[in-house]
Subunit: 336 residues, 2 copies
């Protein structure tokens, strides 16, 4: 027996070491926030959850009121080199181009089809809206759902070459699970299109469609040969960004969240609205500081700019995730 545990002075010490190893393995496996380093953000999350779930405590929050809201782009999944929904729209333009020969001479499509994204965006919001409408409207809700699912099943991220659904943040997946395991209801509140997220939010994030809030275009109910359809119209309905986020939360949830998670100035009003409620509140910003494993950007970025929000978070003592220091894994398939 002693020969088999060579290097150890006794069976006793071999067993002690083995127990330590197994116990820390078991701990790692059972740690619901395994991808979070033991730094301030993790501690703040765990403390907040303990506070609101401790029965009999004055800060106890009943499960029905444990509403947590998450931005999507840059908070749950990456948003570089540009919002993935914009990349989807660009792919759609190419796909639809054969049916639209006129686009060859018509901006913003002409530039886009030449691969000149910057030129296409020169028209500002008007160009972006035009691209969104031709790529997102004119079909039924069921057709659009199929288009999104088909795209996600084949498209690859331009630099990492991974499927977009693998460009999600492992620590945030764990956080979603951890909150739900503690009786929270988790919602997505994104400036992105609601119908672009719903087809995959349940399988990727565990967030069902009825808990997804986003920007939308109008839809219209019609009977086509007796069969009801909802047709997507080329008309903006709601922009779920900045001041729109508390409005969207109010309209779709109807009560104030107790925890909010974002990464940009577009989330600032959501964090303000959440933390202004009475009782314990939690606000967290993901700060993109990791240029090696992800992208490093904040105050000057054209996507997901974090400027005013960073100042307000520091002034108000909100939790700020320093991606480089606080996460030991970024994407699920990263080496551990």
């Amino acid at each position: 027996m002693n020969q088999r545990v060579a290097g150890f002075r006794s069976i006793g010490s071999a067993i002690a070491v083995a127990m330590l190893v197994f116990s820390s393995l078991a701990h790692a496996q059972s740690d619901p926030l395994a991808s979070w380093n033991d730094t301030a953000p993790r501690k703040a999350i765990v403390e907040f959850v303990a506070t609101v779930t401790t029965q009999g405590s004055p800060d106890f929050v009943p499960p029905a009121e444990r509403i947590a809201v998450f931005d999507n782009d840059g908070t749950l999944w990456a948003e570089q080199p540009m919002y993935f929904q914009v990349l989807f729209a660009l792919d759609r333009v190419k796909e639809l181009a054969p049916q639209h020969p006129e686009w060859k001479d018509q901006e913003p499509f002409a530039s886009l089809l030449k691969g000149d994204v910057k030129g296409a965006m020169a028209g500002g919001m008007k160009s972006i809206l035009e691209i969104i409408m031709v790529t997102h409207a004119g079909n039924t809700t069921e057709q659009f759902e199929t288009i999104v699912k088909d795209w996600l099943s084949t498209a690859k991220h331009p630099t990492t070459k991974r499927p977009y659904t693998e460009m999600v943040y492992q620590p945030m997946l764990e956080l979603l699970d951890y909150l739900r395991a503690n009786g929270f209801k988790t919602f997505i509140v994104s400036g992105g299109g609601i119908e672009f997220m719903r087809p995959w939010s349940e399988t990727v994030y565990g967030v069902p469609p009825e808990q997804v809030i986003g920007s939308s275009i109008k839809v219209k109910y019609e009977l086509r040969e007796g069969t009801p359809v909802l047709v997507r119209l080329p008309e903006l309905d709601f922009v779920d960004d900045k001041e729109g986020k508390p409005v969207g939360i109010h309209q779709q949830i109807g009560r104030r969240p107790i925890a909010a998670f974002g990464n940009s100035d577009g989330d600032l009003q959501m964090l303000q609205w959440t933390t202004a409620g009475q009782g314990p509140r939690f606000a967290l910003y993901v700060h993109h500081t990791d240029g090696e494993r992800e992208w490093a950007y904040d105050r000057e970025s054209s996507f997901g700019r974090l400027d005013k929000g960073l100042d307000e978070a520091q002034a108000k003592g909100w939790t700020i995730v320093n991606m480089a220091d606080d996460w030991n894994v970024v994407f699920p398939s990263d080496p551990r």
Copy 2:
């Protein structure tokens, strides 16, 4: 011992009778649909629920997809002599009148303040909108919630003199509970104001605010001396009626219900949309046939008209509740 069970031929027969009595009492107490007579609608409901919850059956529906939608006015609570929200608005006009001396000479308020509701409504939708805006807008969402709660805690129904929250249908409360006990998620989808229903939907129906869909006015996010508020604007946002119901369901739930419950032509599109999906579907109309315990009205009614819907329900074999025959109790405080 035999003397104590006088009238029975033996201890054995006394025990047998007692067991029968107790067992039927226990059955009545444990019957989740006790207020439903054993007629066709009850049978259809129980059969549908058994069908979609039987694991391994080809018609099994996973819990996440067991979405059931309920109209409110005339389906979950009464709507006569007129929608309760209109009665709320009339009370609000009287309450606000001292701050609006100009209303004495200004329609539709002048007629309203004289008690002439019909005269006030002579201006049609324009008058109704004017009344809604002055009584529902111009405050914050939190202020409006308090106004609704205060009204409900004191106002009485004009003919029954009961609180409005007791004018709910006992069989429908049982049905909501029964569906939830079988893994359904229950939603309200009403033409009424979403913010008029949310303050009490959870306590009265067990339906949390995030599962209430209704008509809405626009709200705007503002910082008032650094404190965020949502201000209710005098501008219609969404009308959740007729063709609007499938649209509201799509926007807020994002998937098609498998069961829908209504009472009027305003619910027809919701029932069409629900039943047009693949797999087992259930649609039910409450038909107001009980002029004694409730009100009897259908094709000619100005509120909750059931005309086209009744024809389509008959043609398509949807379940129709004949209130007089199918419910043994209407309101919770009715004698049993």
